[in-house]
């Protein structure tokens, strides 16, 4: 009883201060400032404009093109990369452990390598691909190793008895994978799915490296829209678009987070 009391008496919360101070100054407070800009008519006059900015961006042809392209990219890339990652991870589980370790660590290499360094390869050897496909390939190249690693972390922890029971009941490899293993690791798969969405939104870096700030119409993404308005100093439009963007991503993240916490409690 005495120990229990001791445990919560001393709470060195001051250790959190440096991190929170910097995080607040560089991330949180500026973000609220940008929300403010979303509701004023421009950065210099700063008169309240209500939803005017939102109406304007959704009325803009380029914003809708950007939204369409970004959504299309997400819808195509997320299921494909999940499927690929599960297939690769399942393959790695079924071969000799040494070979699996070698292959897996080689697959992870592109995650750490800078995209800027291989952009030259894309420009010189893959120029014949349509920009959209080229970007998709770049996305898979860059992130599939990360997804494989995370899926694999989950698969390793699936209990062997369950798999053996499934084999005895006559499930072959393919059915065992989709009906036993994948459902067992669904929380890992779900998190990888969230990461897929987030990284699909981050594909702008690769797009910028390949096509600069004014790319082909088929790869004109939301981020290009934001960037080009940034260059024109239209802060109110960037802020309004950022608020929409943040809303979507924060919604997905909060859903994933609470879901995971509830699963823990059960």
């Amino acid at each position: 009883m005495k120990r229990q009391k001791y445990k919560w008496k001393y709470r060195p919360l001051f250790l959190l201060l440096p991190s929170m101070a910097g995080f607040g100054v560089f991330y949180v407070i500026p973000f609220f400032r940008s929300i403010y800009y979303a509701f004023v008519n421009n950065a210099f006059r700063q008169e309240f404009a209500g939803l005017q900015n939102f109406r304007e961006i959704f009325g803009s042809e380029y914003f809708r093109l950007a939204l369409k392209n970004t959504l299309l990219f997400t819808v195509i890339s997320v299921p494909c990369s999940l499927f690929l990652a599960i297939l690769i991870a399942a393959g790695l589980m079924r071969i000799h452990p040494v070979a699996a370790a070698v292959i897996q660590s080689s697959l992870f290499l592109p995650v750490l390598l800078p995209s800027a360094a291989v952009a030259l390869f894309w420009k010189t050897y893959l120029f014949f691909l349509p920009p959209f496909v080229s970007l998709l390939v770049f996305y898979f190249w860059k992130y599939i190793g990360l997804y494989v690693m995370l899926v694999l972390c989950g698969m390793v922890s699936v209990e062997r008895e369950i798999l053996e029971a499934a084999s005895i009941d006559g499930a072959d490899g393919w059915r065992r994978l989709w009906q036993i293993e994948v459902p067992c690791i669904r929380s890992a798969v779900f998190f990888v799915g969230v990461l897929c969405v987030v990284n699909a939104f981050k594909i702008y870096r690769e797009s910028f490296l390949l096509y600069g700030t004014y790319p082909d119409e088929s790869v004109y993404m939301l981020q290009n829209y934001l960037n080009n308005h940034f260059d024109k100093l239209n802060y109110q439009y960037i802020s309004a678009a950022s608020v929409c963007f943040t809303g979507i991503l924060a919604g997905i993240t909060i859903y994933a987070f609470t879901r995971e916490r509830q699963a823990d409690r059960r």
Partner: protein, 253 residues
Amino acid sequence: MKKWVCRGVLYLWLGSMLIVLLFPVICTVADGFILYGVEGFADFLLWDPTWLRAFWISMGISMGTALGSALIAVPAAYIFAKVRFRGREILFLVYVIVMMMPFQVTQLPHYMTAKSFGIYDTPWALLLPGIFAPLSVFLLTQLARAIPDEMLEAARLETGSVWKILWYIVCPNLRSGIVCMMVLQFTEYWGMAAEPLVLMETKEMYPLALKLAQTDAGIPAVAAASFIMLIPPWLLYGYFRDEIREGMKGYHL
């Protein structure tokens, strides 16, 4: 017989994925090293000093971010994982949300902060937000949850100093996590291109990745620079492969 066929198909599948993923890397290395070898390296090292300068600017920013975020994140991770307080989950959720944001959403806030602090157009504009980037706190917190409570409890009975607990209990337990996080931070800032474009103006101060993206130098120099850019992350991964694999286990919600 059927087993051999299955195994063959598996190896074929994994081998083909391996080749596809490594092909760009191999080509980049081959281009930089063999195709344009001497000419490119001469450009990079001798004739154009701006390349080397960009290299060291990149190196400084990446190293600074990695070291700084370790200093900031270890105490924060300990508190988030092991000390209960009101609003802990909400606060942590804010870190996670910010971690998920792409840079374009935060570029305007970053730009305004950099302007108002007078660090716009200096490497500090990249370095300071990097040190406080939420990824490091997130990863270390998830790993610190695995430190046994009994161990911390015993240490608390032995010593009243929270610094000793951090140094002798938390740091050794998080070793591979800290290494993994530092490598991730390093490579993230080593490869960034869009951020300096917004936060810097002077072309001479551009880090290597952006210089590479915007250069008008000839192909040999670009090929050599691409090759040289691959080396630091590659070495880090080579040295710390096990730590990274261990540390990535914390990368979940």
